[in-house]
Each structure stands twice: as structure tokens, then as C-alpha cells.
Amino acid sequence: MSVRVQTEDFEAGAEIAALRRGDPKIGAVAAFIGLVRDVNEGSAVRSMTLEHYPGMTERALEGIVAAAKGRFRIQHALVIHRVGELQPTDQIVLVVTAGSHRGDAFAACEFIMDYLKTRAPLWKKEQTGEGARWVEAREADDQAAARWCPDRAE
């Protein structure tokens, strides 16, 4: 299963070992871990709640992984995204890509994250000293995703 949406934490080392186990063609593994920061937009963040769209979130992530596999020479990819209440320093998301060479592994990992941040139905709500607030989508994230399809850039 290349995509998991779960409340439980994950252990990156174990996930990487499982992803590449027994595959001697793998020469490169790239991994990204996203974490909860204790400050955002100038406010202290006490906790964060991640909401998702059960069914569609998994489907969207599987589509992004399939697109990455079609575009880059990678043999394996894994996405784990946590939902529910998280605290500063908690892990939010893990993306792992594995292939023969580092170039495609790095690129596929970044591609998956850029698309995840703009296409997968997940929403963050922060509890701050000034109350609760929904995190606003960032233009920079749209730009990051758009650079993978230059023909559609402005």
C-alpha cells in the first residue's frame, strides 16, 4: 500500500527499510518529513488539527504517487499523512521515493510534496494564543506545484 492516512505516528527508518527490502535495483532513497512548528504567521501554535476527506484524500494521494511514477524513474513510493490533533514537534507527513539513481528519487519526492500541498484534500486548523484559526492556502505552494508543468505557467 503506497498511501496511508492515519492518526498514528510513523517511524521513517522502518518505513524506508520496508519500502526497499529485497530490491537490489534500488540505489537511491529520498525522504521528506513534514513537522508541526510551534510558530506560524507570527503566532505561537499550541496544537494543530488536521481534517481530511475520507476516501478522496487517499484517492488523491494515490493519483499523485501514480503521476510521480509515470514521470520519474522510481520503483517505489510511499506517502503517510497523519490526521487529527497534533502538537508542535510532531511528525505530519512522510514521503519516500526509491529508484536506481538519486536524481529521479529527489525530484519525485519533491514533486509528490508539491502536489500533495495543492491537490490533496487536507486542512490544518491551528490553536494559537489568540484562538483557533484555519491555515490559509499559500500562493507560494501553488507556484511550487506549477513549476512542474511549465507549459501552464503564466
Binding site: G34, L50, E51, H52, Y53, G55, M56, R59, A60, H81, I92, V93, M113, L116, K117, T118, R119, A120, P121, L122, W123, K124, K125, W134, V135, E136, A137
Partner: protein, 85 residues
């Protein structure tokens, strides 16, 4: 025709509902038409779904655009731009 509607995140809080089953009048057959139909409820619906609000829509769990057709039994979800990762 009847459709299942879902609302998520800040939009869910604004309209005070996570979803509903809705019987649509004949003539409402696209995402844009459905959005107008909901805006016509007025009040929080108008405020949350008005055309100047950046919203995403999914039909049967695939991202959709304003012209996407809606059919009997479809699941249509409205939500704000996503912020995961």
C-alpha cells in the same frame, strides 16, 4: 435528481453542516448551477459560497471545475483550498 453534498474545514464551520442529501430542481446540472442554487439560500450560504470565494469542488471524489456535470446520485464536495503537508 438527488445528490449527496459534503462540506469541509472552514466551509463546514461557516454553513454549520458537514453534509446533506439534496433534491435538485430541474435545470441544475453542473457544479456552477449547484453553487448558485446553494447561494440562493442566502445568509451563511451566500456568504460562504459566493462567487468571489476561492473554493474547490470535487464530484465523486475527483477535483471538478464550474462546468463539470452533475448526475443523479453524485457526491459533490465543497471545500476551501487545501493546506496539508
Amino acid at each position: 435528481m438527488s445528490v449527496k453534498l459534503l462540506y469541509f474545514a472552514s466551509l463546514r464551520e461557516q454553513v454549520g453542516s458537514s453534509g446533506e442529501s439534496l433534491e435538485l430542481p430541474s435545470g441544475v446540472a453542473s457544479v456552477a448551477g449547484l453553487r448558485e442554487h446553494l447561494v440562493a439560500r442566502g445568509g451563511v450560504w451566500q456568504a460562504a459560497l459566493a462567487g468571489n470565494r476561492a473554493l474547490r469542488v470535487a464530484v465523486n471524489q475527483d477535483l471538478a471545475i464550474a462546468s463539470t456535470a452533475i448526475k443523479e446520485g453524485d457526491e459533490v464536495a465543497f471545500f476551501p483550498p487545501v493546506t496539508g503537508g
